[in-house]
């Protein structure tokens, strides 16, 4: 019961992170002017919203949160980090926006990777692994944008 509740909390925290990422890319549309870069930002917004929906759907399915007898060492999960508050982006240069985005995406890859490794439940584990792969894809996109200098 407690672990099931804890998993709900973990999912809620993941949803909050996705929301923060969405707002980050939404705000980044302000300083970034290049059409291709803006299209990428909109795509990243869409992806973060898609992740949020996926996580919420998982949170709404109680059967997927049934507990297996396995100890989850929650305290090991990302003790080193949490997403920083969304910065003020209006005055930044596009390449600075992309660098911030890169940090956030790398953090997200680590976060979901750890959750996937540590979660004993099959369905959440599958979703977290999928999300980690998704965020890795975002890392590649952002790196591409950085090389093109936004």
């Amino acid at each position: 019961m407690l672990r099931r509740f804890l998993l709900r909390l973990i999912l809620e925290e993941a949803i909050r992170r996705e929301e923060e990422a969405y707002r980050f890319y939404e705000a980044a549309l302000e300083p970034v002017r290049a059409p291709e870069a803006r299209a990428l930002l909109r795509q990243l917004c869409a992806e973060e919203l898609r992740h949020r929906l996926k996580l919420q759907e998982l949170q709404l399915q109680p059967e997927s949160l049934e507990v297996e007898a396995h100890d989850v060492q929650e305290s090991e999960l990302l003790a080193d980090s949490g997403p920083a508050p969304a910065p003020e982006l209006a005055g930044l240069r596009p390449e600075d926006v992309w660098r911030l985005a890169l940090d956030k995406e790398r953090l997200a890859v680590r976060h979901y990777g750890l959750l996937a490794r540590r979660t004993p439940l099959p369905e959440p584990r599958r979703v977290f692994a999928w999300l980690a792969a998704e965020e890795q894809r975002h890392v590649d996109w952002v790196l591409g944008a950085l090389e093109g200098r936004g």
Partner: protein, 278 residues
């Protein structure tokens, strides 16, 4: 005593206008508030005003009352629909009887009237007509009629998603998805309407969204959410329930949403466990 509205007076205010046959419909009796050729002769409940010399008219009305006929057994009335109000072309006595019997709805042959200057209304009506012809659904109400085109797109997307699922299940058994410009099948419409649209509208009408947009029908809210997902994600994500879709929409549009798991004690618990920065 109030009198029924007069079509000639109302339509004179419009300037040039055109009509559009909207076909047979079930209409709300409360919205029948005017007449075409009995101006000045009827009160607000379509009863004759004062003493009438027309014995024949009196006789016909009394016979309708005494027969105690169910108005629904009588032929449909004919009405003009103008600015959300119905004006009776044929059937003033039947309307009087319907109002006397406190009926909520009755059958009518409806002709819509639009000022030529109101192109948005004309386009909206054309959009609704196309929706009704292609789907056979006549009870889907929108306050903003341009939304009917979105509903048609939604049905097509719903059909394609269903076909894709079936196709995946049958591993290429040849059951292709309908083309985007192909009218939806009645079965597809039925499944969309009863399995998706109506439950979604029930959720929307009970949500705070309907209080935020007081003039909008649940169908209008459905259209707004559908357009949001179409524009951002190219459509609904396959796995999400409507409850989840609505929550995502609220978030993106910065509308308030209750998330009890974000209460301070839970945030503190996550921070203690090292899952969140304090």
């Amino acid at each position: 005593m109030s009198q029924v509205g007069c079509f000639a007076e109302e339509v004179a205010r419009l300037g040039p206008y055109r009509t559009l046959d909207a076909g047979p419909r079930v209409i709300e009796v409360a919205r029948i508030t005017g007449t075409v050729d009995k101006c000045g002769e009827l009160d607000g409940r379509f009863r004759l005003l004062g003493r009438q010399r027309d014995r024949h008219e009196r006789f016909r009305r009394r016979r309708l009352e005494q027969a105690d006929l169910a108005v629904t057994d009588l032929p449909p009335i004919s009405v003009y629909l103008l600015s959300g109000r119905y004006f009776v072309i044929d059937g003033n006595r039947r309307v009087a009887e319907a109002k006397r019997q406190k009926l909520e709805y009755m059958d009518a042959q409806v002709t819509e009237v639009f000022p030529l200057s109101d192109t948005a209304a004309l386009e909206g009506a054309a959009s609704r007509r196309r929706f009704e012809q292609e789907t056979g659904l006549r009870n889907v109400r929108l306050a903003y009629e341009s939304g009917y085109a979105t509903l048609l797109e939604d049905i097509a997307a719903f059909g394609r998603a269903g076909a894709a699922e079936a196709g995946a299940a049958e591993a290429g058994a040849g059951g292709g998805a309908p083309a985007a410009d192909e009218p939806p099948s009645r079965e597809q419409v039925r499944r969309w309407h009863s399995g998706f649209f109506r439950p979604a509208c029930a959720l929307l009408s009970g949500s705070s969204l309907s209080r935020r947009f007081p003039g909008a029908e649940p169908g209008d809210l459905f259209v707004t959410v559908a357009r949001f997902y179409r524009d951002l994600l190219g459509g609904y994500p396959a796995v999400a329930s409507y409850e989840t879709l609505l929550s995502g929409f609220r978030f993106a549009r910065r509308l308030p949403e209750r998330r009890p798991l974000r209460a301070a004690p839970f945030r503190l618990l996550l921070a203690v466990l090292g899952l969140r920065r304090p």
